[in-house]
Every structure is written in structure tokens, then in C-alpha cells.
């Protein structure tokens, strides 16, 4: 097992080095590039920790979507960056804060070493209680049956987040199309990529959702891939983002959570509890919820990236 440990040590060092880079480098843009690389490595770390579902989410969200969001922001903020240095805290204060942060990190490290051994776990309990849910992937079972409320609330949380993003729009622009994405590029390579990649991506996304019931994968991962493909098409200028006032868009955004709640409420009569599934129907219901949620989440994630509504024509700028 020594070479496995070498891999782990290399990964841990790389992750720490990149984190240090992200914190300490001067230009925000370089820090963001470092953060994208960091996300990539974290995906590998998750694989090393036997958390393949998490690795997929990290690869899709941490590297892909967060990367686009932050790279775009860094590019747009670059003109203002030089002014930041002047409001940096003084050296003494920084050193004091650094010392305290180090103390907290050391304390945490000590706590990590003092965690009980053998570790307490719910893995066994989940395994025992997986059959009634009808799914084979325990993570999916936990997300959609045992702790369905977290997943429900979490898909709901995305809606206020989206409203928060939309809320910074200028009043006259309300109702229009989101305007934060990079302008369409005329480069043929991008157009080609935006034509070739999405079919692959959509296939992978659907595969992830469909397979997520029994193998690693699931709606978040699938939805993220779909969102990324959609954004790619938008960046290439092949499609326009939908207007915020669009009624169909709004229905699609909330339909996932509403269906989830609807099935949950039906569970009160059919299975004696809110968010319970009637015996024997658990798996099809879970798959149905996942399918609709994937659609809503993919749209929401895409729109979170697309930013607040701007004046109707995207290249028209906003005043």
C-alpha cells in the first residue's frame, strides 16, 4: 500500500500548494486559475476517499461551473483590482491573524487525530435500509429517501439564490435576458465545439441521472453537465438565453421541487408519512423525481451563471 500512500501524499501536497497560491497570489485572475486547478485535484482526492459520487459533483460543479463563474468575474473585475491593495490590513494585524488561523488549524488537526477509533458510522444502517428504497446506490438512497427533506430544501435553496442574482438587475432591464455571459465569439473552433460537445454531454448527463439510482451519479451531477452544455451553446452564440419574464421558463424552474413536494404529500396517504414512498413504487418514483429535478436544477444552475437580466439585446450593453 505504500505507493497508494505516495499518491495520497502527492495529492495532499499539491492541494495545499494550490490553496496557498490561491490565497497569496497577487492577481485575482491567477488565483482563480489556481482555484480551477485545485478543483480538478479535489476530484481526484474524492476518488481516493472512495466517494465517487462526490468526485463527480466536484468535477462538474467545482471545476466546471464555479470555474466559469469566477473566471468571468475576475476578468470583469480586473480594472478595479489595483485599488484593493490600499485597504489591506497592516503587517502586524496580518501576522496576528495568521497566528490565530494557524492556531485554529493546528487545533483542528489535533482534533482530527483524536476522532474516535474505530470510527462510528451509519454505513451499516444505510445498507440495511436500502432495499425498501429500491435503489442500489446508497448515496442516492440517502439523498432521496432517508434524508429527502435535505434534498428538497436544497433544491428550493437554489431558487432564492437565483432571485438574489436576478435582483441586482437594473429596474428597466427587468424581464429581459440574462447578460453576464461572455459575448458570442465568432471563432469557428468554439462554434464547432458547441456543436459537437453538447450531444456527448447530454448523453453523459442523462446517463448519470439514469444510472445514479444504482451506480455513482445522480441528478446534481447530471444537471451540472447539462447546465454546462447549455452554457457552452449560449457562449457560442448558437442560442439566446431565455428572458426572465418567460412564463415557460419559470414553470420549468420550479416544477422539480413542486413535483417532489407533490409526491411527498401523496406519501401521507399512500405511505403514511410525508416524503415516504409507497412500497414497491419507491424506485420509479425516485427516478421520476430525479428526472424532473434534473431539468429544474440544470436550468437554475445555468441561469445562476448567466447572471442578472440586462437590456433585452445582449450586445446592447447595459447602462
Amino acid at each position: 500500500m505504500t505507493s497508494a500512500l505516495v499518491v495520497d501524499a502527492a495529492l495532499a501536497l499539491l492541494v495545499l500548494g494550490l490553496a496557498l497560491w490561491v490565497i497569496s497570489t497577487r492577481a485575482a485572475y491567477s488565483a482563480v486559475v489556481g482555484f480551477v486547478a485545485y478543483g480538478l485535484l479535489m476530484a481526484i482526492v474524492w476518488v481516493r476517499l472512495a466517494a465517487v459520487d462526490v468526485a463527480m459533483t466536484e468535477a462538474a460543479l467545482g471545476t466546471g461551473l464555479t470555474g466559469l463563474l469566477l473566471l468571468g468575474a475576475a476578468a470583469r473585475l480586473a480594472p478595479y483590482e489595483a485599488a484593493e491593495v490600499s485597504s489591506r490590513p497592516g503587517r502586524g494585524l496580518r501576522m496576528l491573524i495568521g497566528l490565530l488561523c494557524a492556531a485554529i488549524a493546528l487545533g483542528l488537526a489535533a482534533v482530527v487525530l483524536m476522532l474516535p477509533d474505530p470510527a462510528p458510522t451509519l454505513a451499516l444502517l444505510v445498507a440495511e435500509n436500502l432495499p425498501p428504497t429500491g435503489v442500489g446506490n446508497p448515496v442516492t438512497g440517502v439523498l432521496l429517501a432517508h434524508r429527502a427533506i435535505d434534498t428538497l430544501l436544497e433544491s428550493v435553496v437554489l431558487i432564492p439564490a437565483l432571485i438574489g442574482v436576478w435582483s441586482v438587475a437594473a429596474d428597466p432591464a427587468w424581464g429581459g435576458r440574462p447578460g453576464s455571459l461572455p459575448r458570442p465569439q465568432s471563432g469557428s473552433a468554439l462554434t464547432l465545439l458547441a456543436q459537437v460537445l453538447p450531444p456527448f454531454g447530454i448523453l453523459i448527463g442523462i446517463h448519470l441521472v439514469w444510472n445514479g439510482a444504482d451506480d455513482p451519479g445522480g441528478k446534481f451531477q447530471g444537471a451540472t453537465v447539462l447546465a454546462a452544455m447549455w452554457i457552452l451553446v449560449l457562449i457560442a452564440g448558437l442560442r439566446e438565453p431565455p428572458a426572465v419574464r418567460d412564463q415557460r421558463l419559470r414553470v420549468l424552474l420550479v416544477i422539480g421541487a413542486l413535483v417532489f413536494i407533490g409526491i411527498g404529500v401523496a406519501g401521507i396517504w399512500l405511505a403514511d408519512a410525508f416524503l415516504a414512498y409507497p412500497e414497491g413504487y419507491a424506485k420509479p418514483l425516485i427516478l421520476a423525481i430525479e428526472a424532473v429535478l434534473t431539468l429544474s436544477i440544470a436550468l437554475t444552475l445555468g441561469l445562476l451563471l448567466a447572471g442578472p437580466p440586462a437590456n433585452d439585446h445582449r450586445s446592447g450593453g447595459r447602462s
Binding site: T25, R26, A27, Y29, S30, A78, G187, A189, L190, L192, L193, V196, L197, F200
Partner: protein
Amino acid sequence: MNLALDILTIVAVSLGAIFFLAGTVGLLRFPDTLTRLHALTKADNLGLGLVVLGLLPQVSAPLAALGLLAVWLLALLSGATVGQLLAGTASAPDQDRAETPARHAGASHD
């Protein structure tokens, strides 16, 4: 037979690893962005291809083998596109304008 496949794996994976090394060296030693870009896209795509080739005999399920190939194809496709896009940026007529803020930021850091 098994031994032959294992040897194929070892050879291909080792070669792939060496290509990665070559790509890294190229990235570090070549003088400007454009040459680094060309060195990198060739080396890492070949490296990944060789690794995939080496791993193919080690997986039993045909679906897994397909997955491996798909990974490589995807990397090839995106590598080529991104390479072209980056090259377009680097060699655009108004390159100076494009690169100025970057250079400034980088220079002030070094």
C-alpha cells in the same frame, strides 16, 4: 498471453508517462506561449492516448473499454479546440492589446 498484455500495459503506460514529462518540460522551457501551447497539446494528448492504450488490456468489460476510449476522444477534441482558441488569442493581430493587462499583472508579480 496474459504476460504479453501486461508487458504491453507497462510499456504503453510508461511511454505515456514519459510524454507527460516531455510536455511538462516543454511547458517550462519553451520561450513563448505559442510554442508552449503546441508542445503541450501534442505531448499531453499522446500521453493520455498511450495511457488509455496501456489500460485497455487491463479492463474486462467492453463498456469500460469504451469509456476509456471516450475519455481520450473527448480530451482530443477539447484539446484541439482549446488549442486553436488559445492560439487565436495569442496570434490575433491586436495581440498586444489583449495581452497587456496580463503581462502587467504577471510582471508585477515576478
